[in-house]
């Protein structure tokens, strides 16, 4: 599995220094083709910062990271997105006023060919492309919740949390990325919704061949059901890695979450 698949992403000694506070203090991390990796750690350990750094939202202050052997250090978010990395957000960054369809179409920005002037002078090409992309959006929604398809032109803000999360995942998948980063997808969900979510994530992998998923979570049931291997970090540094069982039983990990034994 891990050994025969290609390594598509790695970071070396990745650092993120916020005016003296090292949110990331040297992360060495790898992602291989077609795998699902979990990233866990207590609050403030640097998980979301890691996502923000590798998507270019924050610029790393030290170390490096590569995608397909190309350095992404210092690149802007839009450049990194073009390479094939997409993500979802802890606080669900959807455009609530826009329709379901619009939100998913945003994920296909890199596939658009009908540009500024086509909007005026070649609308036939534009509309054909819109219809095409809409088909893909419908296909994706069909996988997760066919009941959403009639709501394609409703504002996404009207949907319940679990469906919004699904739309977000569809948006992340729509552009056919190589890596999808899921940032605490179960945040704000009921236990029933979380169970549905775990199925959704499995569906992501079965729908798209050749995509790797990295998932940050606090809910351990999600991590254990979805990831093939897990990495734990604390204070911006890796403290354990392996299978879920190995990591969750690791003394440093237990200490990080539960505190030292008195």
């Amino acid at each position: 599995m891990q050994d025969t698949n290609r390594r598509i992403f790695y970071s070396e000694n990745l650092e993120m220094n916020f005016g003296g506070l090292y949110a990331l203090a040297g992360i060495n991390f790898e992602i291989f083709e077609n795998e699902a990796v979990g990233l866990i750690g207590p609050n403030g350990s640097g998980k979301t910062t890691f996502f923000n750094v590798i998507t270019g939202v924050y610029k790393a202050t030290g170390g490096s990271f590569h995608f397909m052997n190309e350095s992404l250090l210092g690149k802007e978010p839009y450049e990194i997105a073009k390479k094939g990395i997409s993500r979802t957000y802890q606080s669900s960054r959807l455009c609530l006023k826009l329709t379901l369809l619009d939100n998913i179409l945003i994920g296909m920005y890199n596939n658009q060919t009908a540009g500024y002037f086509s909007s005026i002078f070649n609308r036939k090409k534009l509309i054909a492309e819109v219809k095409n992309f809409k088909k893909r959006a419908v296909e994706l929604l069909d996988v997760f919740n066919p009941e959403l398809i009639p709501k394609l032109f409703n504002p996404v803000g009207e949907l319940p949390q679990i469906d919004r999360r699904r739309v977000e995942i569809c948006r992340a998948m729509a552009g056919e990325p190589r890596i999808i980063l899921l940032d605490e997808p179960s945040a704000g969900m009921t236990p029933d919704e979380t169970t549905e979510l775990m199925d959704d994530i499995k569906k992501v992998r079965s729908t798209m061949k050749n995509v790797s998923i990295m998932i940050v979570e606090h809910d351990m049931s999600v991590i254990s059901s979805v990831s093939e291997r897990v990495i734990a970090i604390n204070f911006g540094k890796e403290i354990a890695k392996g299978t879920y069982e190995e990591v969750s039983n690791h003394p440093e990990v237990r200490e990080a979450y539960l505190g030292k034994e008195v």
Binding site: G56, E76, S86, Y89, I106, I120, I127, V130
Partner: protein, 388 residues
């Protein structure tokens, strides 16, 4: 598929619109304050009734929306017929013609601003300054260098866009409050500079700017004995229709979607490949071209312009038209412009209180109806996309 013409529906729609058409002209004619108040009270009553009889009014609105091509065709025909009929029906025809032309210019300004503010979320409080730059460009070129108006108009737009690019760096480096303040300060600077530079005529501005002239036809001539404003009326009408079309097309395209994504969540948009800086620049340029051209037309039509025409107050008026209508809501903006441009002209009686009421309006809209007049419309791109 051969389209069959539902003659009964067409007749119904046309009749309603023609009746409204004549009512509007009667409205223009009303001189007595009391008749005016009664007329406005009737309109308000109508609105209230339509809310009370929700179902019936909803079905009426649906009927009109379903027959959009007919509604639009009749509307455009009526708009073209107006200057031919109005001299017969309206007492102060010349005055109202000018008001309508001015309203048309405001519509172009508001639609241009909408691309920046409504679609992309860039609060451009210097919109009147760019309007002025368009006007001064056209005025200076035609007055001092005799440049033909067929060139001054697009140049007005281009120069306004170039000046807009002075704001490119601030545009992507600042957000929210700060961006508003930058454009505010910039607008004030431009007007102050215009006021203090002899080259632009200083506080007196430019005078005796030549009229529009295309292929030898001067807009000061009287077509068929009608007032020369009629020339400008048709010209501005065409420009307004073009602006509406272009706005509609941009909105229902990848451009509109990208700009909306930047407005609603810039970071997420960037993480999906959108180079937000470039797009904000594109939106700003596009809007400014429209705004500058409107300024050029205004300069040629009125013949003189001066710095007070393009003050912060004027910018706020145009911003109010966009906000009242609803961000990115083309129909709403058209209606908002009509309300803020035509109504005050009619309310001459309250002319003294006009600015005061306008201030109250600016307080009340954000407090009670920040979404604008009309309800939100989902982006459909094209009728064929929504089916299937």
């Amino acid at each position: 598929m051969k389209r069959t013409f539902d003659y009964i529906s067409i007749l119904k729609i046309a009749t309603v619109q023609v009746v409204i058409f004549f009512l509007v002209m009667i409205f223009f004619n009303i001189e007595s304050v009391w008749t005016l108040i009664i007329a406005l009270a009737l309109v308000v009553a109508l609105v209230v009734l339509s809310k009370a009889y929700g179902k019936q009014s909803a079905s009426i609105i649906e009927f009109f929306t379903a027959n959009k091509p007919t509604v639009l065709t009749v509307l455009i025909v009526l708009l073209f017929l107006y200057p031919l009929i109005s001299p017969l029906m309206i007492r102060q025809n010349t005055y109202w013609l000018l008001v309508l032309i001015q309203t048309g210019i405001y519509m172009i300004l508001a639609l241009g601003l909408n691309i920046q503010l409504g679609s992309t979320g860039v609060l451009n409080l210097a919109v009147a300054a760019f309007y002025g730059i368009g006007g001064y460009t056209a005025g200076l070129l035609s007055l001092r260098l005799g440049v033909p108006t067929i060139i001054t108009l697009p140049l007005g737009g281009i120069v306004a866009a170039l000046f807009g690019m002075l704001l490119y760096v601030p545009l992507y480096k600042t957000k929210g409050h700060y961006m508003a303040l930058v454009t505010l300060a910039f607008g004030i600077m431009i007007v102050l500079a215009l006021d203090n530079t002899e080259f632009t005529g200083g506080p007196q501005g430019l005078m005796a700017i030549p009229e529009l002239k295309f292929f030898g036809y001067s807009f000061l001539s009287k077509p068929g004995g009608l007032h020369f404003y009629t020339n400008y009326y048709y010209f501005v009408l065409v420009l307004v229709l073009l602006s509406v079309l272009v706005s509609y097309w941009f909105y229902n395209s990848w451009v509109g979607l990208t700009l909306s994504s930047i407005r609603d969540d810039e970071i997420a948009a960037k993480c999906f490949g959108v180079n937000a800086n470039i797009w904000k620049g594109i939106a700003f340029i596009t809007g400014n071209v429209m705004i500058g051209i409107a300024g050029a037309v205004y300069a040629h039509m009125i013949g003189f312009i001066s710095p007070p025409n393009f003050s912060l107050a004027e910018s706020l008026l145009i911003v109010a038209m966009v906000i009242l209508g609803g961000l990115d809501n083309i129909l709403g903006i058209i209606i908002g412009t009509i309300i803020l441009s035509i109504l005050p002209e009619k309310m001459r009686v309250i002319t003294e209180y006009r600015v005061f009421l306008y201030g109250i309006l600016l307080i009340v809209i954000p407090m009670f109806r920040p979404g604008g007049l009309l309800p939100f419309k989902p982006r459909k791109y094209h009728a064929s996309v929504a089916e299937g």
